[in-house]
Symmetry: C2
Subunit: 207 residues, 2 copies
């Protein structure tokens, strides 16, 4: 139906990822979209409404991607690598992820937005945990400690990795970090459990 509504959310998210929710203004959006300020208020009476829509959109999109990745891959590293790829392309656009962006401003956000953000974080954490456990079960991932903790490790690598790499204006830094994270998950011996897919050798680009 209303393409304006979708355009508003899309652009608003873009701006939030680039500059943060508190910097985002209705004027920013309306100018770039060639509409009036009040048109945004028609679709999203308050900024909170807009914020909620952004998080929900993000969650929906990520959930869809995750589901499709699970169908395409059996190797845990391949699956997790897809998520890293999403983060990598966000970084290409000189943005950070929604979790990092809103996480910083958390205390200034309305309760409903905080709750939505938690849901997004948990979606990713639980999904990562699941992939790690599946990988451990089918021999495509090796790690020490609990899957919950390791999921946190991977998430923090992404969330802060993207922030620091953007600061350094160095996408390679992020790539090195995620490659390292994946490599430490990789089963070391060639004599490990036979899996459906032959895992690639350790591809250490450059350190």
């Amino acid at each position: 139906m209303s393409t304006t509504r979708d355009e508003i959310i899309r652009l608003a998210e873009e701006l939030v990822l680039a500059k943060g929710f508190n910097w985002l203004s209705y004027s920013d959006i309306s100018q770039k979209l060639g509409i009036k300020n009040a048109a945004i208020h028609y679709h999203f009476p308050t900024k909170e409404d807009l914020g909620l829509a952004i998080i929900e959109r993000d969650r929906t999109m990520i959930a869809e991607l995750m589901a499709s990745w699970e169908q395409q891959h059996t190797d845990a590293i391949d699956i997790i690598s897809e998520l890293f790829g999403v983060y990598s392309s966000i970084l290409q656009g000189c943005q950070v992820c929604l979790i990092g962006s809103l996480g910083t401003d958390m205390l200034t956000l309305p309760d409903a937005m905080q709750a939505e953000l938690k849901k997004l974080v948990n979606l990713i954490l639980i999904w990562l945990k699941k992939q790690l456990e599946k990988g451990r079960a089918n021999g495509t991932a090796v790690f020490e400690g609990s899957s919950t903790t390791h999921a946190m490790v991977l998430l923090t690598n992404m969330v802060a990795g993207i922030q620091i790499a953007r600061l350094h204006n160095n996408t390679k830094e992020f790539h090195t970090l995620t490659t390292h994270a994946l490599n430490s998950l990789r089963p070391k011996d060639a004599t490990s459990f036979p899996s459906s897919s032959t895992s690639k050798s350790i591809r250490t680009k450059k350190l």
Copy 2:
């Protein structure tokens, strides 16, 4: 000398860590300090001046702490653990670290602030790298890959770990994460490879 100036920086940093630089306002500070808005402008003509003072203060304090830790410890894990402790106490105050806070808003910051922030990040990264290398040399730390990459791993654990743990209002989550990070650095008892993944030596309860 001027205690007002120091109080302004101190409180401003507190507010930045809690709510972000763009949310911070002169009124916030002046009200809480019982002074007038213009008094802050006297010490810091522009918000950029204030922002720079905050980062510089942070960098000075961290650098001093780091130097003292290096004198107190020889074990790499003990030294790095001290830095984790600083982050842990920031989390106790329901704050995030300056890197995460300003990192998110990076594109909205004046160039000089971006440059100062980079210096802060590099100070920590280089220090971590140094401790890792010393640890590897004196046998108190074991890790795969380059020290540069591993320093990034530790930093991202801290920066995003504090953000996510605050979101979950769960300091234990941060503690578990950092404990895991330290444990994976710990040299395994000389008896080479344990064949089962259920070997002891992973302590997840207390530092």
